[in-house]
C-alpha cells in the first residue's frame, strides 16, 4: 500500500534540506536564542512554517521577537518519515496522515488504477480500497457468499454480570434519592460493633463471626467525646433512657481492627457526622466473615445497606420503605415481615418477598435504630435501617445455584453469559 504515495515537490525539498522546523532547531542549537527577523532572513518564506511547527511540537518558545529553544528533539519524525518513504519502507498510518495533511505526499492515482486492474485480472474476491478509489468496481461481479455461515467466534469485552447487577442496584438507589456512603475495608471494632451498641464479650456480638487481624491489629479511635458517650451508653445507658449493658467498657477492645463484617459500619459512620434531616443513605460494600465455605457462604460477599433519617418515622414507614425497595429492586409487590433480632435495631424484622417461581424468599433485614445507637452518635431523629443480602438476589437474577459462582473463574461463562435486560 505504501507505494501508493508520491512525494510532492515540497516534500522532495524537505527531503533534501530537512524540514523548516528541523533547520530552525539546528540554528537554535548553536545560538539558543535568535530573533524572528534573523530567521526570516535565513529561512525566507519558510520561516513562519518552521516557527509554527516547532512551537506545536513544544520545541521552541516565542518571547516578544525572540525564539528560544525549549526542548531539543532527539529525532525528527517528519524528516525520518520522508526518508523512509523515499527508501520504500513501510510507514505507520498516523505518520502517513501527517504527511498527507502537510501536503508533503499525495496518493498515486495511477498506481491505484494499476492495482485495481491487476485485482480484476486475477479475479475479484473482496471489495477493496483500490476498486472504490478507481471507480473500477463498476466492472466487477462479486462472488456470492454463503451468508448463513458466521465463521469465527468473536469475543468482545463486557462487564462482569455480577458487577453489572451491583451497578444496577446502585443506580436504582440513587434514583430513589439515596446518597452513597463509604467506609474502609479494615475497620475499627468500634464502628463495626461498639457504635452499634453491641456489647464487648457478650453473645449479642456473636450474631456474626468475625475475622481478627494478625497485622495491623490496632487502630486510632475517633475523638474522645464520642468515645465517652458510647462508653457510658454501654455501661449505664447514659442519657438514652436505657439501662445499658451494665459492664465495664474497654476502649482497647474497640480499637482493635477487623475486616468489615457488615455494611452497617457505614451507617454508624454516617450518623456520626451530622447527616441532614431528612436524608437517605446507602452503601454497597464487600464484607468478610470466617464462615465455612459452601453453596450459600462465599469467601467474601456484598451487603447493601441503607438508612432513612427523619423526625417522625415509625414502624409503619419502616414497612413502607421495605415495600418500595422490594418493588423497585426485586420487582416484587408482595412482601411479609417477621420478627428478627439485631442488637442495633428494635424492633427488628426479616423481610420476605414472594418470588413467582421460588415462593417466599428471605432477602433482607431491617429495623429502627435503637436510641442507644443514635443518641451517642449525635442523632435525635428516628433512623430506619435496612440491609439486603444482595448476593442472594444476584444469584436469583443470574440463575446461579452456588454463591461461589458469583466470583466465577470461568472465562467461557463470562463470555457467553447473556447481559441483563
Amino acid at each position: 500500500m505504501q507505494s501508493n504515495y508520491l512525494i510532492t515537490k515540497e516534500g522532495r525539498e524537505y527531503l533534501e534540506k530537512g524540514t523548516p522546523e528541523k533547520r530552525l532547531v539546528e540554528i537554535l542549537k548553536e545560538k539558543e536564542r535568535v530573533s524572528i527577523k534573523e530567521i526570516e532572513n535565513v529561512l525566507k518564506e519558510e520561516g513562519w512554517i518552521a516557527i509554527n511547527w516547532a512551537k506545536k511540537f513544544g520545541w521552541v518558545e516565542v518571547k516578544d521577537d525572540l525564539i528560544l529553544l525549549k526542548y531539543l528533539p532527539k529525532r525528527f519524525e517528519i524528516d525520518d518519515a520522508l526518508k523512509s518513504l523515499h527508501e520504500k519502507k513501510e510507514l505507520k498510518n498516523e505518520t502517513l496522515e501527517i504527511l498527507l495533511k502537510r501536503k508533503l505526499i499525495i496518493e498515486d492515482k495511477e498506481d491505484i488504477v494499476k492495482k485495481a486492474e491487476k485485482q480484476i485480472k486475477e479475479g475479484v474476491k473482496f471489495l477493496t480500497h483500490e476498486l472504490l478509489a478507481s471507480g473500477l468496481w463498476r466492472n466487477v461481479n462479486f462472488p456470492k457468499y454463503n451468508v448463513s455461515i458466521v465463521g469465527r467466534k468473536e469475543y468482545g469485552g463486557k462487564r462482569h454480570p455480577y458487577m453489572k447487577f451491583l451497578i444496577r442496584i446502585r443506580e436504582k438507589l440513587v434514583s430513589l434519592g439515596f446518597k452513597e456512603m463509604s467506609s474502609p475495608t479494615i475497620e475499627l471494632e468500634f464502628w463495626n460493633f461498639d457504635a452499634l451498641y453491641q456489647p464487648q464479650d457478650h453473645p449479642s456480638r456473636d450474631w456474626t463471626q468475625t475475622y481478627s487481624l494478625k497485622f495491623p491489629n490496632e487502630g486510632k479511635l475517633p475523638e474522645n467525646k464520642l468515645i465517652e458517650r458510647v462508653k457510658k451508653t454501654h455501661e449505664d445507658g447514659w442519657i438514652t433512657g436505657s439501662t445499658g449493658w451494665e459492664y465495664k467498657w474497654d476502649p482497647s477492645k474497640a480499637a482493635r481492627l477487623i475486616p468489615r463484617a457488615h455494611a452497617t459500619c457505614c451507617s454508624a459512620r454516617t450518623l456520626a457526622i451530622n447527616p441532614e434531616t431528612p436524608s437517605k443513605h446507602f452503601a454497597i460494600r464487600r464484607c468478610f466473615r470466617p464462615d465455612v465455605i459452601d453453596a450459600t457462604h462465599g469467601v467474601e460477599f456484598h451487603q447493601c445497606e441503607g438508612i432513612v433519617i427523619d423526625k417522625n418515622l415509625s414502624f409503619r414507614e419502616m414497612i413502607g420503605i421495605l415495600k418500595t425497595l422490594t418493588k423497585e429492586i426485586v420487582g416484587i409487590e408482595e412482601i411479609r415481615i417477621k420478627p428478627d433480632y439485631y442488637p442495633f435495631t428494635e424492633p427488628s424484622v426479616e423481610l420476605l418477598a414472594k418470588h413467582p417461581k421460588l415462593g417466599w424468599i428471605e432477602f433482607a433485614g431491617a429495623g429502627i435504630f435503637r436510641e442507644e445507637v443514635t443518641i451517642p452518635l449525635g442523632v435525635k431523629d428516628i433512623v430506619l435501617a435496612w440491609g439486603i443480602g444482595i448476593d442472594r438476589l444476584a444469584m436469583i437474577s443470574l440463575e446461579l445455584n452456588d454463591i461461589r459462582e458469583l466470583f466465577t473463574r470461568n472465562l467461557n461463562w463470562l463470555r457467553e453469559k447473556e447481559v441483563l435486560v
Binding site: Y162, T185, Y211, L411
Partner: protein, 603 residues
C-alpha cells in the same frame, strides 16, 4: 444464632395445645424462631435472638407462646420457698457462684435433653465458652448440704468424672476426659483448681470442667441442685434464672439457697468450737475448719476473724424470681409503632407478651415483666413486644414521601467510566476475592515478602491476606482458563489494601492483561495509551526493574511526575509458577491517583 432441637409432642404437652404442622412455622415466628427441619417428632429450630436464652428450650418456647396464643397470659408466677441449703464460698477463690434447688421435678427424657442442651448453649455464649459462667446440674439427693466451693491443689482432687467409671485426679481429668481436654486452658497454670465439696467431703464437681458421675441427673432424679459459677455476675444470674424457670415448667418447686463468702484460717491440729470449746464439731472437708458445733449448736459465723473462719460478706439468697419493673410512655409506644393504640389494647397486647401493668399515671405505664427477661433495657424493647403481640402482618405499611437527592461516591462513577474504555478496547471484566495467600502475592510473583494486612484466624491459607497487587488476581484467572480460546483480554477494577506507615489503607486498582500465543509489550502498550488518552492524561513510560516482569520490558507509568502504575511483560519464571503456558502482558494502575490527577487537570 442458637439452634436447638425439640420434641414436638413434648412441646404440645407443655403448650397445652396441638398445632397443625403447616402452622408451626408461623407460630414460632412469635418467638423470633425459624423451623429449619421437621423429621418425625424432632423439630430443629433456629432462634435468632441471641439475647433471649429464655427461649432456647422447649419449655421456654412453650411458655412464651402460651402467652402469644392467649392460652396463659400475664406474668408467669414463681414462688420460691426458703430452705436451709447453704453454700460456702472461699473468698480467695477467683470465682463465685449462685445456686438453686428445684424439688419434685418431673424429668422425662426430653426435659433432660433440654437441660443439657441449654446448659451447653448458655455456657458457650453468655459464659464465653465457660470462661465467665459454667453451669452444673446435680441430683440433689446424692449430695449433703452444706456445700463448699473452694480451691484445691490438682493432685489432691480425685473423683469419678461424668461418663467415666474410674476415679481420676484433676491432672488426669484435664488430660483424658473430653471436657477436660476441651476446657483445660481455663485452669492451666493455676495453683489451685475450684471444686464443689459436700459436707461429707465428697467432691461433686470441678467447675468449669466436669461434674462427678454419681451426682448426675437422670430420668429418676426428683430433686435438682443447680449452681452457676464463674466470674460474670450478670451472666451467672441469667443462667440460673433461665434454668430455674425451665425446671419450673416441669412442675418443679423452687427452693432458695444461701450463698455465703467465707475466709478460712486453720486453727491448728485440734479443732474446737470457739463458743463452747467443744471439739465435737463438723468440719469443712479438705480445709479442716469448723462450720457447725454439734455440742452447743453454734453455726457460722461462730468464730472471730483470724481464729478459724468468718463470713466476709452478707450472704445472698438465690434465685431471685421477682418480676422486674420498667416505665414506658403511652405516647412513645404510639410514636414508634405508628399505630394509635388505646390503653386497653396495649394492656391486652402486653399480657400476651407476658407483661403486666402495675400502675398507670397519665402518659406513664409502670410495667412488670418476667425475671427471665434480661434483654429489656429500654422502653423500645417493650414496643417491640407489643408489636409482636399485635402481629406484624396486621400492621398497615405507610409510604415515605421524602424529597432527597441521591448520589454515588465519585470513585464508583469513575470506575464505571474506566471500565467502559477497557470494554471498548475489547477487554472482559473479571471479579476476584480481595483475600488471597502470601504464596500468590509473593512467591508466585517472584516478589520479596513484605509486611501486609494479614488475618489472624483464616479459614484457609488460601484466603489469609489482603491483596496489595491486582496482577496476581488476573494471573490466577488466566491460569485457570488455559484451555479457553485465545486471545484473552481481561481486566479487573478492585480494591487492594496496602500498608502506609503501618496503617491499612484501601486503594482502588485497575489491571488489564492480554494473553495469547504471542502477546507482548507492543500489544499492551497501545491499550494503555488509548486508555490514558481517553482520560486526557499525558504520561511517560520510564524503564524500571520489577521482579514480576521481564527485565527491559517493564516500565513505570508516570503522570504529572507521579508514579501511577506499572506495565510490562510477565516474567516467564512467574508464568511458570502459575502454570501459564501463554505469554501475558499487563498493566496495573492506581485508580485513586488517576482520579485525583484527572480532577486536578480538568479543574
Amino acid at each position: 444464632m442458637p439452634k436447638i432441637e425439640i420434641n414436638i409432642e413434648d412441646f404440645f404437652n407443655l403448650l397445652g395445645k396441638r398445632i397443625e404442622k403447616n402452622e408451626l412455622e408461623k407460630i414460632f415466628e412469635y418467638a423470633k424462631s425459624e423451623v429449619e427441619e421437621i423429621s418425625n417428632e424432632i423439630v430443629k429450630i433456629e432462634i435468632k435472638d441471641t439475647n433471649r436464652p429464655d427461649l432456647w428450650s422447649t419449655e421456654g418456647l412453650a411458655r412464651e407462646l402460651r402467652g402469644r396464643l392467649k392460652l396463659e397470659r400475664g406474668l408467669p408466677k414463681y414462688s420460691v420457698k426458703k430452705s436451709n441449703y447453704k453454700v460456702f464460698v472461699d473468698s480467695k477463690l477467683d470465682r463465685t457462684t449462685v445456686c438453686a434447688v428445684v424439688e419434685n421435678v418431673k424429668l422425662n427424657s426430653e426435659a433432660l435433653k433440654q437441660v443439657i442442651q441449654i446448659q451447653e448453649k448458655i455456657a458457650t455464649s453468655f459464659g464465653r465458652n465457660r470462661k465467665e459462667v459454667a453451669i452444673g446440674v446435680y441430683d440433689k439427693d446424692k449430695i449433703n448440704f452444706p456445700l463448699f466451693f473452694i480451691g484445691e491443689r490438682p493432685e489432691n482432687i480425685r473423683f469419678v468424672p461424668l461418663d467415666f467409671d474410674k476415679e481420676m485426679n484433676a491432672i488426669e481429668i484435664l488430660e483424658k476426659h473430653p471436657k477436660g481436654i476441651e476446657y483445660r486452658n481455663l485452669l492451666e497454670g493455676k495453683e489451685k483448681y475450684p471444686i464443689f465439696v459436700d459436707s461429707k467431703g465428697k467432691i461433686i464437681s470441678m467447675p468449669p470442667i466436669i461434674n462427678s458421675d454419681d451426682t448426675k441427673v437422670t430420668e429418676n432424679t426428683k430433686n435438682v441442685f443447680i449452681e452457676c459459677s464463674g466470674t460474670n455476675n450478670r451472666a451467672m444470674e441469667l443462667a440460673l434464672i433461665v434454668l430455674v424457670a425451665l425446671l419450673a415448667e416441669r412442675k418443679g418447686a423452687i427452693r432458695s439457697v444461701e450463698v455465703a463468702k467465707i475466709e478460712f484460717e486453720r486453727f491448728g491440729e485440734r479443732i474446737k468450737c470457739i463458743s463452747c470449746g467443744s471439739d465435737k464439731v463438723n468440719l469443712i472437708p479438705w480445709l479442716g475448719c469448723v462450720y457447725e458445733c454439734k455440742s452447743c449448736g453454734a453455726k457460722l459465723p461462730i468464730v472471730e476473724k483470724g481464729k478459724n473462719l468468718k463470713i466476709v460478706k452478707d450472704s445472698i439468697i438465690t434465685p431471685n424470681t421477682k418480676p422486674k419493673k420498667i416505665i414506658v410512655e403511652l405516647s412513645y409506644i404510639n410514636k414508634i409503632s405508628g399505630l394509635d393504640l388505646k390503653l386497653n389494647e396495649i394492656k391486652n397486647l402486653l399480657l400476651n407478651a407476658r407483661y403486666e401493668i402495675k400502675r398507670v399515671s397519665n402518659d406513664k405505664l409502670e410495667l412488670l415483666y418476667p425475671c427471665y427477661r434480661f434483654d429489656i433495657m429500654h422502653q423500645r424493647d417493650v414496643v417491640e413486644d407489643i408489636l409482636i403481640s399485635y402481629g406484624f402482618d396486621n400492621i398497615p405499611p405507610k409510604d415515605i414521601k421524602l424529597y432527597t437527592i441521591g448520589s454515588e461516591i465519585p470513585i464508583e462513577k469513575f470506575k464505571n467510566e474506566m471500565a467502559e474504555i477497557l470494554i471498548g478496547l475489547g477487554f472482559q471484566e473479571i471479579m476476584s476475592y480481595m483475600l488471597t495467600s502470601k504464596k500468590n502475592l509473593f512467591e508466585k510473583m517472584n516478589r520479596k515478602e513484605k509486611e501486609i494486612v494479614e488475618i489472624e484466624n483464616p479459614i484457609s491459607e488460601n484466603w489469609s491476606v489482603f491483596r496489595d497487587f491486582l496482577v496476581p488476581s488476573i494471573l490466577e484467572f488466566i491460569s485457570l482458563n488455559q484451555h479457553v480460546a485465545h486471545p484473552q483480554k481481561i481486566f479487573e477494577i478492585g480494591t487492594c489494601v496496602i500498608l502506609e506507615d503501618k496503617e491499612a489503607k484501601d486503594i482502588e486498582k485497575l489491571s488489564a492483561a492480554i494473553s495469547d500465543t504471542k502477546a507482548g509489550y507492543e500489544d499492551i502498550a497501545p491499550c494503555l495509551d488509548a486508555f490514558l488518552r481517553n482520560l486526557k492524561l499525558k504520561y511517560e513510560l520510564i524503564p524500571t526493574i520489577n521482579e514480576s516482569f521481564i527485565e527491559g520490558r517493564v516500565a513505570k507509568i508516570v503522570v504529572e511526575k507521579k508514579e501511577v502504575g506499572i506495565i510490562g511483560e510477565l516474567n516467564p519464571y512467574v508464568l511458570e509458577k502459575w502454570n501459564i503456558v501463554f505469554p501475558v502482558a499487563a498493566f496495573e494502575i492506581n485508580v485513586n491517583e488517576i482520579l485525583s490527577l484527572v480532577s486536578k487537570i480538568r479543574k
